[in-house]
Each structure stands twice: as structure tokens, then as C-alpha cells.
Amino acid sequence: MITIITLGTNIGAKSREDGRAFDELRNLKIEAGVLERADGSAYLEFGGNKVLVAVYGPKESFIRRFQRPDRAYIRCRYNMAPFSVDDRKRPGPDRRSIEISKITAEALQPAVILEKYPRSVIEIFIEVLEAEGGTRCAGITAASVALADAGIPMKDMVVACAAGKVDGQVVLDLSEVEDKDGQADVPVAILPRSGEITLLQSDGNLSTVEFEKALDLAIKGCNQISEVQKEALKKRYGE
């Protein structure tokens, strides 16, 4: 009888710049409840990314035109610290952070039971303290933990992860260098229990086959990260 032993998961594939396998995530650490004033908070380190998220609410919405008579709305602000990148970023929102704020709120919305809090607002503040590729996904993942830490009822905890194409190969969780040199980046957020997708962007060139491969890989990554999210909450609140 002949047994075939396969060593490693990416035989024949070029190794990545940081030595990871094609389907390997960077080191991930999540801590819940790190801030005093905020109603909920989470700190996340993902590779070289350091992200802090605070949640306030549900509270009365003072901006009338956003108020909904039958449910709460989510207001999200994604912001990068001036020292989070190589060349100092000027403080304040730019077009990129405004877009990310919008899609982050939309990615988280389907999980939150907004009908419970009419006329209210839930505020999510995402601060990128250090950026190393994939900060929007890191922000969404941490925001879910902060929402849970704030005690906001949710159907599920949204989790995000990116896949992409580097050197012609579909890989999971692009680092900053891979994002810069790569051919495509596909950030995805899912509701892990149903597998439904709440965020999808794509930047670059992929064939249909490659896209499906990237999507599957990102979902696989999301499911792994989801376990770390749950661990963070268990650690904070006990089993």
C-alpha cells in the first residue's frame, strides 16, 4: 500500500514575503473591555495592526434627520492616528476613512437588533493606532466585540477578513506589502452563523474562478477569527 504524505498546505506554491502559508492568518489578539468611559470597547492586534474600538449607546439621537421612529441607527467613525502610518497622516477624516466608516456601519447593521431601540443611536468609534494592511477588516472584527461588550443585543457577531491575489496566487489576509504589490484585494465580512455576507469589496483583477477561490478563502479566515472573538468575550465575562 502506498501512502502519500503531503507536507505543508502550499506545496508547489511560492512562499509569501512573511513566510506564511497561502491560507494562514497573521497573529491575532483581541481584548474586550479596555476603556473606562465607553459603554463597550475592544482592542485588537492583527499582524502589525493595532486597532481600538469604543461603542457608546444605545442613546437618544440628537440629530433629528437620522432618527428612525421604529429602530436605532448606527453611526460609525473610522479614524487613523497621525502616527499609525509611515508618513504622518494629517488628522481628520479623508475620503477613504469616510467610505470605510460608511461600509463598516452597513457591515455591522444586519447583526444588531436595532428594532429594540427606536429613536436611538449606537455610536462606534474605530481608531487605527498602527496600520499594516487590512485595517477595515480589523476594525469591523473589533467593533463586533465592542458592541457585545456594550451589551447591545445581536443575532450574531460580524467578523471580517480579506483575501486577495499576490504573485498570481490567491492568498488569505494580505499584509501591507502584499496589498501594495498584489493584484487584488477582497475584504469580506460575514455573519458566521448563517454564512451571509455583509461586506464585500474588491480592488484589482480576478477571474471568476479566482474570485470564488478568494471569497471561499476569506470566509474560511472569518470563521477562524470568529473563534478568537468569542474567546475574547469569554475571557472578559467568564464561560
Binding site: 473606562e36 474600538v53 457608546y56 479614524n79 492616528a81 502616527f83 508618513d87 504622518r88 468609534f125
Partner: protein, 267 residues
Amino acid sequence: MVNKMNIVPEITRKSITHLINNEERVDGRAMDEYREISLETGVISKAEGSARVKIGNTQIMVGTKPQIGEPFPDTPDVGVLMTNSELLPMASPSFEPGPPDERSVELSRVADRCIRESQMVDLEKLCIIPGKKVWMVFIDLHILDYDGNLMDAAVLGAVAALKNTMIPEVKVVDNEIIIDHENMKPLPIREEVVMCTFAKIGEQLVIDPSLDEEEILSARLSIGITASDKICAMQKGGDSPLTKEEIMNAVKITESKSKELMKYLEC
């Protein structure tokens, strides 16, 4: 600005004031006692210098970024220090997103004066080509959690981050600036500086006011002092006046308390 201040219930105001008039504080501290302080440096690898400081539950992340730029025309052969602070909406329900408000501007200007006037950083050594190119060091104060006394935390964090800052070696060859990222050197630092903030509540002065105390204070006094006891910055705040005796008393306490704060900056 003023109408954004939280309304403090009269009963809270009275009980805190009553305690302080009896030389007691809500959290059990002495009049001249700081809350627990923690200071970590080198926490952000993308920043050339960084520090995370906590005084009680107040938390600030400070990052420094040196850049090459043009000097000011009136000081053509010295480097530039720029201090900026962001009172992030995550830090307190009373902080709003948007351009810096007057609290934020006051904080960064006081911290800036304290560091600049202490001459802690030898700015003359940051000149590259006189009149043309100098190092500009940006100090960004990122306020993460607000539980009172941002001034002392900001100065402590900024000084720690500056001490932690590395800048690349620079050579000028035929009007070309060569930046050598392989050879990093620390910023030229002379002596440290710290700031001590007092709040006048009732008839007493208390050091390191917590948020509860800050919200009811009648006057505030911040004093910047160097390691060699030179007073390099002061700022009075709040609606009520202070007497000369109160101010001199605060200066005296600052002289001894600053030694305690300096210990966190060692290493």
C-alpha cells in the same frame, strides 16, 4: 463649548466639596496624591517614538513623527516642534468628532509650551541646512479615555515619546540630503520636564483632579517644571480667581511632586 459641559447634580458637588474641605477625597487619595500612573514606550513601531500613558483611567497614546521641512523665517537654523491633540469621541461622551475645539487647542498649546520652553529638545541640533531644511518633529496626542487631568498625562506621554524617538542620520552632499535609515539616533534631549495640575475645590487645592473633581472645580492651575526646578510653563483655568498664596503653595508642592513624576521617565 460651555454648554457642552456636563451638568453635575448639586448633591454630588456638595458631597465632593464637603469631603475636600475635610481633607478627604472621593477615591481616598491625599490632597497631594496622584492616581496610579503607568507609562509604556515604543508601543507603535510605525511611529519613530511612542508612549502610552495612564493616570488613573485617563489614557493617552502619543506618537512622534519627524519629517524634513523648512524652518520658520525668524528661526532659520533651528528645528521645529509641533504638538497636536485629538480629543477623540471614543474618550468621552462629551467629545464630538470634528476639528479641534478650544479644549483640545488649549491642551496641545500648553503641552507644546511646556516642552518648548523647557528646551528639553536641543532644536539647534535638528538643523540640516540653515534657512532651508530642518527636522520638524510632530507630536500627536491621541486621547483614548478621559477621566480627568489630561494636561499632566499629555506632558508625561509627550516627554516619554520624545525620549523614545529615533531619527535617521542625515548627510548633506552637494545640496543633496541623504537620509540614512540604517543609522538611527535618538533625539538630542537635554533635561526632562513634567507638569502638575491642581484644582481648587471649596477652600482647598488638590493635585491630579479626577473627572468628578474637574467637573466641579472653581479654578485650575497647571505648572510645568524641569528636572532642575525651572518653572517653564503655567496655565490657569476655570471661572474663579486664585490668591497669590494659593499659587505659591501650588508651586511649592510641584517642586516636590515633580520628582515623583520624573521617576516614570527614567530608563
